[in-house]
Protein backbone atom coordinates (compact mmCIF):
# COMPACT_ATOMS: atom_id res chain seq x y z
CA UNK A 1 0.00 0.00 0.00
CA UNK A 2 1.47 3.35 -0.96
CA UNK A 3 1.05 6.61 0.88
CA UNK A 4 1.63 10.07 -0.45
CA UNK A 5 3.49 12.05 2.19
CA UNK A 6 3.53 15.82 2.03
CA UNK A 7 5.91 17.62 4.31
CA UNK A 8 5.34 21.21 5.38
CA UNK A 9 8.24 23.11 6.88
CA UNK A 10 6.72 25.97 8.80
CA UNK A 11 8.28 28.90 10.56
CA UNK A 12 7.41 28.62 14.24
CA UNK A 13 5.83 31.99 14.97
CA UNK A 14 5.69 31.15 18.64
CA UNK A 15 9.48 30.85 18.73
CA UNK A 16 9.77 34.33 17.27
CA UNK A 17 7.27 35.77 19.77
CA UNK A 18 9.03 34.14 22.72
CA UNK A 19 12.53 35.19 21.68
CA UNK A 20 12.01 38.93 22.20
CA UNK A 21 14.06 40.65 24.90
CA UNK A 22 12.58 41.55 28.26
CA UNK A 23 9.97 39.58 30.14
CA UNK A 24 10.60 37.87 33.45
CA UNK A 25 12.39 34.93 34.99
CA UNK A 26 10.77 31.50 34.92
CA UNK A 27 10.49 31.63 38.71
CA UNK A 28 8.64 34.96 38.55
CA UNK A 29 6.33 33.64 35.82
CA UNK A 30 5.41 30.61 37.92
CA UNK A 31 4.85 32.71 41.03
CA UNK A 32 2.66 35.18 39.14
CA UNK A 33 0.67 32.35 37.58
CA UNK A 34 0.06 30.76 40.98
CA UNK A 35 -1.01 34.13 42.33
CA UNK A 36 -3.35 34.72 39.39
CA UNK A 37 -5.01 31.34 39.93
CA UNK A 38 -5.56 32.20 43.60
CA UNK A 39 -7.53 35.26 42.48
CA UNK A 40 -10.29 32.99 41.17
CA UNK A 41 -10.16 30.41 43.97
CA UNK A 42 -13.34 31.50 45.76
CA UNK A 43 -15.55 31.51 42.69
CA UNK A 44 -14.12 28.19 41.54
CA UNK A 45 -14.76 26.63 44.96
CA UNK A 46 -18.37 27.83 44.76
CA UNK A 47 -18.62 26.37 41.27
CA UNK A 48 -17.32 23.00 42.50
CA UNK A 49 -20.10 22.89 45.11
CA UNK A 50 -22.66 23.71 42.41
CA UNK A 51 -21.37 20.85 40.22
CA UNK A 52 -21.52 18.37 43.11
CA UNK A 53 -25.06 19.57 43.87
CA UNK A 54 -26.08 19.06 40.24
CA UNK A 55 -24.81 15.48 40.24
CA UNK A 56 -26.66 14.95 43.52
CA UNK A 57 -29.90 16.31 42.07
CA UNK A 58 -29.84 14.20 38.91
CA UNK A 59 -29.07 11.01 40.82
CA UNK A 60 -31.95 11.70 43.19
CA UNK A 61 -34.22 12.14 40.21
CA UNK A 62 -33.18 8.67 39.05
CA UNK A 63 -32.66 9.98 35.50
CA UNK A 64 -28.97 10.74 35.42
CA UNK A 65 -27.56 11.28 31.95
CA UNK A 66 -24.22 9.45 32.04
CA UNK A 67 -22.65 11.91 29.60
CA UNK A 68 -23.63 14.89 31.77
CA UNK A 69 -22.45 13.23 34.99
CA UNK A 70 -19.19 12.33 33.25
CA UNK A 71 -18.68 15.92 32.08
CA UNK A 72 -19.32 17.32 35.56
CA UNK A 73 -17.04 14.74 37.17
CA UNK A 74 -14.32 15.64 34.66
CA UNK A 75 -14.66 19.32 35.53
CA UNK A 76 -14.36 18.48 39.24
CA UNK A 77 -11.23 16.43 38.48
CA UNK A 78 -9.69 19.32 36.55
CA UNK A 79 -10.69 22.28 38.68
CA UNK A 80 -10.27 20.83 42.18
CA UNK A 81 -6.82 19.58 41.20
CA UNK A 82 -5.76 23.02 39.99
CA UNK A 83 -6.25 24.30 43.54
CA UNK A 84 -4.44 21.43 45.21
CA UNK A 85 -7.57 19.57 46.31
CA UNK A 86 -6.04 16.26 45.27
CA UNK A 87 -8.56 13.94 46.90
CA UNK A 88 -11.57 15.80 45.53
CA UNK A 89 -9.90 15.70 42.13
CA UNK A 90 -9.37 11.95 42.54
CA UNK A 91 -13.02 11.54 43.51
CA UNK A 92 -13.88 13.24 40.22
CA UNK A 93 -11.56 10.86 38.38
CA UNK A 94 -13.16 7.87 40.07
CA UNK A 95 -16.61 9.06 39.01
CA UNK A 96 -15.33 9.57 35.46
CA UNK A 97 -14.07 5.98 35.46
CA UNK A 98 -17.39 4.76 36.72
CA UNK A 99 -19.55 6.65 34.23
CA UNK A 100 -17.24 6.05 31.27
CA UNK A 101 -17.98 2.37 31.80
CA UNK A 102 -21.66 3.17 31.65
CA UNK A 103 -21.88 4.14 28.04
CA UNK A 104 -23.08 0.74 27.04
CA UNK A 105 -26.37 1.60 28.74
CA UNK A 106 -25.78 0.11 32.17
CA UNK A 107 -26.60 2.55 34.93
CA UNK A 108 -26.86 2.16 38.65
CA UNK A 109 -27.44 5.30 40.71
CA UNK A 110 -26.08 3.93 43.97
CA UNK A 111 -22.34 4.23 43.24
CA UNK A 112 -22.88 7.78 42.00
CA UNK A 113 -24.65 8.65 45.22
CA UNK A 114 -21.68 7.25 47.15
CA UNK A 115 -19.37 9.52 45.13
CA UNK A 116 -21.58 12.52 45.86
CA UNK A 117 -21.51 11.80 49.60
CA UNK A 118 -17.73 11.41 49.44
CA UNK A 119 -17.29 14.66 47.50
CA UNK A 120 -19.49 16.57 49.91
CA UNK A 121 -17.54 15.17 52.86
CA UNK A 122 -14.23 16.17 51.24
CA UNK A 123 -15.52 19.74 51.06
CA UNK A 124 -16.24 19.75 54.82
CA UNK A 125 -13.52 21.41 56.87
CA UNK A 126 -13.20 18.55 59.38
CA UNK A 127 -12.52 16.01 56.60
CA UNK A 128 -10.51 18.43 54.46
CA UNK A 129 -8.17 18.97 57.40
CA UNK A 130 -7.55 15.27 58.05
CA UNK A 131 -5.25 13.70 55.48
CA UNK A 132 -5.77 10.13 56.77
CA UNK A 133 -9.53 10.53 56.45
CA UNK A 134 -9.22 11.99 52.96
CA UNK A 135 -7.06 9.07 51.86
CA UNK A 136 -9.54 6.59 53.32
CA UNK A 137 -12.39 8.22 51.39
CA UNK A 138 -10.48 7.93 48.11
CA UNK A 139 -9.44 4.34 48.73
CA UNK A 140 -13.07 3.46 49.32
CA UNK A 141 -14.17 5.13 46.07
CA UNK A 142 -11.46 3.42 44.05
CA UNK A 143 -12.48 0.03 45.41
CA UNK A 144 -16.11 0.75 44.63
CA UNK A 145 -15.38 1.86 41.07
CA UNK A 146 -13.11 -1.13 40.45
CA UNK A 147 -15.84 -3.46 41.69
CA UNK A 148 -18.44 -1.92 39.37
CA UNK A 149 -16.03 -1.94 36.44
CA UNK A 150 -15.42 -5.63 37.01
CA UNK A 151 -19.17 -6.26 37.00
CA UNK A 152 -19.65 -4.40 33.70
CA UNK A 153 -21.19 -1.31 35.31
CA UNK A 154 -24.15 -3.11 36.77
CA UNK A 155 -24.98 -3.58 40.41
CA UNK A 156 -22.03 -5.25 42.04
CA UNK A 157 -24.23 -6.64 44.74
Amino acid sequence: MSHIVRTHRIENKLAKAVSTVGGMTVEDALAKAAQAVEEVRDECMDALDVKIAEIDAVTKSGKADPARVYALANEILNEAGAFGLSELSEAGRSLCELTSNWRDGASDMEPIRVHVVAMKSLRRSDVAGDSALRSAVIEGLRALTAKFAASGGRSAG
Binding site: T7, I10, N78
Partner: protein, 175 residues
Protein backbone atom coordinates in the same frame (compact mmCIF):
# COMPACT_ATOMS: atom_id res chain seq x y z
CA UNK B 1 21.16 31.88 37.05
CA UNK B 2 17.45 32.17 36.28
CA UNK B 3 16.23 31.77 32.77
CA UNK B 4 14.34 34.70 31.27
CA UNK B 5 11.23 34.31 29.15
CA UNK B 6 9.08 36.80 27.33
CA UNK B 7 5.56 35.78 26.33
CA UNK B 8 4.16 39.32 26.15
CA UNK B 9 3.83 39.25 22.36
CA UNK B 10 2.22 35.83 22.15
CA UNK B 11 -1.33 35.85 20.80
CA UNK B 12 -3.08 32.92 22.50
CA UNK B 13 -6.40 31.23 21.90
CA UNK B 14 -7.75 29.03 24.69
CA UNK B 15 -10.66 26.62 24.50
CA UNK B 16 -12.29 25.05 27.52
CA UNK B 17 -16.02 24.36 27.60
CA UNK B 18 -16.03 24.72 31.38
CA UNK B 19 -16.30 28.40 32.27
CA UNK B 20 -14.20 27.92 35.40
CA UNK B 21 -11.73 25.63 33.68
CA UNK B 22 -11.32 28.38 31.11
CA UNK B 23 -10.73 30.96 33.85
CA UNK B 24 -8.06 28.84 35.51
CA UNK B 25 -6.25 28.33 32.22
CA UNK B 26 -6.49 31.99 31.33
CA UNK B 27 -5.26 33.13 34.73
CA UNK B 28 -2.22 30.86 34.52
CA UNK B 29 -1.36 32.25 31.09
CA UNK B 30 -1.83 35.85 32.22
CA UNK B 31 0.57 35.10 35.04
CA UNK B 32 3.11 34.02 32.42
CA UNK B 33 2.84 37.52 30.96
CA UNK B 34 0.68 36.72 27.91
CA UNK B 35 -1.36 39.81 27.17
CA UNK B 36 -3.41 38.80 24.15
CA UNK B 37 -5.70 35.94 25.13
CA UNK B 38 -8.90 35.00 23.34
CA UNK B 39 -10.69 32.72 25.81
CA UNK B 40 -13.38 30.55 24.21
CA UNK B 41 -15.86 28.29 25.96
CA UNK B 42 -17.31 26.58 22.89
CA UNK B 43 -15.92 24.98 19.78
CA UNK B 44 -17.95 27.30 17.58
CA UNK B 45 -16.63 30.37 19.36
CA UNK B 46 -13.08 29.09 18.90
CA UNK B 47 -13.70 28.29 15.22
CA UNK B 48 -14.99 31.83 14.64
CA UNK B 49 -12.04 33.35 16.49
CA UNK B 50 -9.59 31.30 14.44
CA UNK B 51 -11.11 32.59 11.22
CA UNK B 52 -10.92 36.25 12.24
CA UNK B 53 -7.49 36.72 13.82
CA UNK B 54 -3.99 35.24 13.69
CA UNK B 55 -2.70 33.41 16.76
CA UNK B 56 0.71 32.13 17.81
CA UNK B 57 -0.52 29.36 20.09
CA UNK B 58 -3.69 27.46 20.93
CA UNK B 59 -4.32 25.60 24.18
CA UNK B 60 -7.46 23.49 24.02
CA UNK B 61 -9.35 21.05 26.17
CA UNK B 62 -11.06 18.66 23.74
CA UNK B 63 -14.03 18.46 26.12
CA UNK B 64 -16.00 15.46 27.24
CA UNK B 65 -17.59 15.24 23.78
CA UNK B 66 -14.23 15.38 22.03
CA UNK B 67 -15.46 18.15 19.71
CA UNK B 68 -12.24 20.07 20.34
CA UNK B 69 -10.33 17.31 18.60
CA UNK B 70 -12.48 17.75 15.51
CA UNK B 71 -11.76 21.49 15.62
CA UNK B 72 -8.03 20.78 15.43
CA UNK B 73 -8.48 18.32 12.58
CA UNK B 74 -10.57 20.93 10.77
CA UNK B 75 -7.97 23.65 11.32
CA UNK B 76 -5.08 21.54 10.06
CA UNK B 77 -7.01 20.87 6.83
CA UNK B 78 -7.72 24.53 6.02
CA UNK B 79 -5.55 25.38 3.03
CA UNK B 80 -4.12 28.93 3.12
CA UNK B 81 -5.45 29.49 6.65
CA UNK B 82 -3.11 31.74 8.67
CA UNK B 83 -3.63 29.62 11.77
CA UNK B 84 -3.37 26.27 10.03
CA UNK B 85 0.00 25.35 11.51
CA UNK B 86 0.00 27.15 14.86
CA UNK B 87 1.33 25.07 17.75
CA UNK B 88 -1.53 23.42 19.64
CA UNK B 89 -1.34 22.03 23.15
CA UNK B 90 -4.18 19.72 24.15
CA UNK B 91 -5.01 19.72 27.84
CA UNK B 92 -7.36 17.04 29.05
CA UNK B 93 -8.59 15.58 32.30
CA UNK B 94 -9.98 12.08 32.32
CA UNK B 95 -9.20 10.11 29.20
CA UNK B 96 -10.14 6.75 27.79
CA UNK B 97 -7.96 4.72 25.40
CA UNK B 98 -10.12 5.86 22.48
CA UNK B 99 -9.93 9.53 23.46
CA UNK B 100 -6.14 9.26 23.76
CA UNK B 101 -5.97 7.78 20.25
CA UNK B 102 -8.17 10.54 18.89
CA UNK B 103 -6.04 13.20 20.58
CA UNK B 104 -2.83 11.61 19.27
CA UNK B 105 -4.19 11.63 15.72
CA UNK B 106 -5.70 15.11 15.88
CA UNK B 107 -2.60 16.98 14.74
CA UNK B 108 -1.89 18.67 18.07
CA UNK B 109 1.72 19.27 19.04
CA UNK B 110 1.60 18.18 22.65
CA UNK B 111 -0.77 16.58 25.14
CA UNK B 112 -0.89 17.68 28.78
CA UNK B 113 -2.89 15.87 31.45
CA UNK B 114 -5.07 17.92 33.77
CA UNK B 115 -5.19 19.06 36.53
CA UNK B 116 -3.01 21.84 35.23
CA UNK B 117 -0.05 23.19 37.13
CA UNK B 118 1.73 26.37 36.03
CA UNK B 119 5.10 24.58 35.98
CA UNK B 120 3.94 21.84 33.62
CA UNK B 121 2.07 24.20 31.32
CA UNK B 122 4.95 26.66 31.05
CA UNK B 123 7.36 23.82 30.36
CA UNK B 124 5.16 22.60 27.49
CA UNK B 125 4.68 26.09 26.04
CA UNK B 126 8.45 26.59 25.95
CA UNK B 127 8.86 23.10 24.50
CA UNK B 128 6.53 23.78 21.57
CA UNK B 129 8.23 27.14 21.01
CA UNK B 130 11.46 25.21 20.39
CA UNK B 131 9.78 22.50 18.32
CA UNK B 132 11.30 22.39 14.85
CA UNK B 133 9.54 19.28 13.58
CA UNK B 134 7.94 19.64 10.16
CA UNK B 135 4.25 18.99 9.69
CA UNK B 136 3.41 15.90 7.71
CA UNK B 137 0.30 15.06 5.77
CA UNK B 138 -0.20 11.37 5.25
CA UNK B 139 -3.50 9.59 4.89
CA UNK B 140 -5.94 11.12 7.38
CA UNK B 141 -3.17 12.55 9.55
CA UNK B 142 -1.96 16.12 9.26
CA UNK B 143 0.18 17.31 12.13
CA UNK B 144 3.69 17.45 13.48
CA UNK B 145 5.99 14.65 12.49
CA UNK B 146 5.69 12.19 15.34
CA UNK B 147 9.23 10.89 14.88
CA UNK B 148 10.93 12.84 17.62
CA UNK B 149 14.46 11.55 17.20
CA UNK B 150 14.81 11.41 13.42
CA UNK B 151 13.62 14.70 12.04
CA UNK B 152 15.06 14.40 8.56
CA UNK B 153 14.80 11.66 5.95
CA UNK B 154 17.69 9.21 6.20
CA UNK B 155 20.60 10.00 3.95
CA UNK B 156 21.36 7.19 1.56
CA UNK B 157 21.59 6.09 -2.01
CA UNK B 158 17.88 6.10 -2.77
CA UNK B 159 14.65 4.36 -2.02
CA UNK B 160 14.36 0.81 -0.90
CA UNK B 161 13.03 -1.31 -3.73
CA UNK B 162 9.68 -1.85 -2.07
CA UNK B 163 9.21 1.67 -0.70
CA UNK B 164 6.60 3.42 -2.80
CA UNK B 165 6.39 6.48 -0.61
CA UNK B 166 6.42 9.71 -2.56
CA UNK B 167 7.73 12.75 -0.76
CA UNK B 168 6.32 16.06 -1.81
CA UNK B 169 7.98 18.73 0.21
CA UNK B 170 6.41 22.12 0.52
CA UNK B 171 8.44 24.89 1.99
CA UNK B 172 6.08 27.39 3.44
CA UNK B 173 6.47 30.33 5.69
CA UNK B 174 3.87 31.31 8.22
CA UNK B 175 1.51 33.96 7.05
Amino acid sequence: MSRWINLERVALLTLDESVHGCKILTQICRGFGIRTIRACTSVEEARNALTTAPFDLMIADPGASGDGVELIRWLRRQEQHPNRFIPIILVSGHSTPSSVRRARDSGANFFVAKPLTPATLLDRILWVSRDRRPYVEVGKYLGPDRRFKVEEPPTGLGRRNNDSTIDQEDTESAA
